[in-house]
Symmetry: C2
Subunit: 353 residues, 2 copies
């Protein structure tokens, strides 16, 4: 389908220094992805990275970056680190030496650096973070989950279009059900922005199912849930909180007496399955949508498995040409692809170094 | 403490016709509350109500109201039903024949009718719905959970003051930790209204602990969580959704094979305890705060137990003079109590009819 697909392989730049367990877990994840046949290039301090790779028994291409963005650094400071692993990884894409980036680093810095390095995708006013929530019989893709604290109706409409394309590509959903998160299902419910977006979305060529409430998200009512970054963040963090507290309650109940302990031991595999269903690790990173390139941001606490999943995801959305497909959905006639050539102008020197 | 306490008993008007299980469950709940020593007056169609009461083996004072507000009726229409049980109950308070109202009816109508009948409490620009969320080792009182879709900083500050007083009275918490719900803990995080409210709350005589995120709500970080009605509704419904889906997952796991079924049977009491922890029934209704009177709104699906709890709650907040205490907290010097005398001007004719 996409312009890369079938022509050459995608290369994913991996920020070795982002995340709470960097570089160990990040590199383990990258090695696993490499062993699954994905081309990766590691970005980080070359000595450290090569020492870790040696211990893992793998040789991977490395691009040196001596600096790194700390997890809690303010965005303005992070942007000044011109030699950070994150910045160097973004530059690789700009130069055509990589096709996408995976980082477990500081989300604010990730958004700012990709936006500065790559710019917004034409037709998008504000990029968004998307995120997967585990819901009944599957998952829901929620955006924005924190890039923009407030959103106008036009932003929400753009999120809906981006979410629709992303879910088709990343999850293979054919005709995603797109919904607006609101405080009631009626079209008249919600903030001014939500009400206006509802009206606009009804006119678009989307499977728009209208407004849904918080509980319906988890009942699996929609594949794409559109909201502003403030509400999306509260929904995401709140649901994580409820799930964790319920697991905690159950764990306490299971250790309350001997009979419960025995029964609990028998049921441990079942609980592990439940826990896995509500675990972000399984979901392997969230995309930055609306920037002119592919960036997958993993949770800061990601271990190797989540990193591997994120690299696989990045490769898939690169091969399916996420950015161009969003562009086409926005404009129908396929205009506004000024940056396409740049992204396709690939340099191969890294690959065979 | 309050002006009613120790002087005479509070009378709670119960809207017999609000809720999905009205009038049966409502009347059972009212009878239970009466048997716990609380003075109630039932408002509804006198024949129907008395027939039910007879079946329950109890005589209670009844005020006739032939009409009722349907659960899904638009507010404008509901307001035109001058003889609805809800309207008549609100009028009883206005006339001094009751001190508070409990209804499981249509929330929109409840807010509109109390606001029209009683007016706003002086010093409050917008009334709010408060709600209890089960959290680690207790519950958090969240407001607004749906009265106002958007809120200015001044509204959020008023919610904080009302929530602080309510939690002291209704839950007996000494120095409630008050927090603003935001998308980050830093003071700089959140919408413009949240940032401004944060600044204002730091100057007040409250135990204000700053911003908290969604997960922290469920970790029990605060006793009072302040937010706008849109976000509060999403948090509440979303957390209900997660809890219900997790219970569903666990139930499915428990019936997956014979061993799990056996273990599940042994553990049923433990699960019931978990389920009870996340069940709104235990929490017995949410107050309308900021109107000039006491109104407790129960969930539409409330059964007798929730109604009884709500009546007990209404009696407590009446006896502790919720409205006056909020007025005092708002003004420190105790001014703005123009309606106090009216509320205290009690008529006793119902009681002994």
């Amino acid at each position: 389908m996409g312009s890369l697909n079938g022509r050459h392989e995608a290369v994913i730049a991996v920020d070795a220094m982002g995340g709470d367990f960097a570089p160990e877990e990040v590199l383990k994840g990258a090695v696993q992805a490499h062993r699954r046949g994905i081309k990766v290039v590691i970005v980080g301090p070359v000595d450290t990275v090569e020492r870790h790779l040696e211990a893992l028994g793998e040789r991977l291409p490395v691009v040196n970056a001596e600096d790194a963005v700390p997890m809690d650094e303010p965005v303005a400071q992070a942007l000044r680190r011109r030699e950070s692993s994150l910045q160097v990884a973004a530059n690789l894409v700009l130069a055509g030496d990589a096709d996408g980036v995976v980082s477990c680093g500081n989300s604010g810095a990730i958004m700012a650096i990709t936006l500065t390095a790559w710019g917004r995708q034409p037709g998008i006013d504000r990029p968004a973070f998307g995120g997967n929530l585990p819901v009944r019989d599957g998952s829901a893709f929620v955006l924005d989950i924190g890039a923009n604290t407030s959103s106008k109706a036009s932003n929400l409409v753009q999120y809906a279009i981006m979410g629709d394309v992303y879910v088709r590509i990343a999850r293979g959903v054919d005709n995603p059900r797109v919904a607006l998160l609101s405080n009631g299902t009626e079209d008249s419910k919600g903030t001014k922005a939500v009400r206006e977006a509802n009206e606009a979305l009804q006119k678009l060529d989307l499977n728009f199912i209208g407004n849904i409430e918080g509980n319906q998200v988890f009942e699996g009512a929609a594949d794409v849930v559109v909201t502003d970054g403030f509400t999306g963040n509260v929904l995401l963090k709140g649901s994580e909180g409820v799930a964790m507290e319920m697991l905690r309650l159950i764990r306490n109940e299971l250790s309350s007496d001997v009979v419960a302990k025995l029964a609990g031991a028998v049921m441990m595999p079942a609980f592990q399955r439940v826990r896995r269903r509500v675990d972000f690790e399984e979901y392997g990173g969230v995309p930055v949508l609306g920037v002119d390139g592919v960036m997958i941001n993993c949770h800061g606490r990601s271990t190797a498995k989540a990193v591997t999943n994120a690299i696989c995801l990045a490769e898939r959305v690169v091969c399916e040409n996420l950015v161009d497909q969003i562009g086409e959905a926005l404009h129908h006639d396929g205009v506004e692809r000024s940056n396409r050539r740049r992204r396709l102008a690939r340099a191969f020197r890294l690959r065979h170094q």
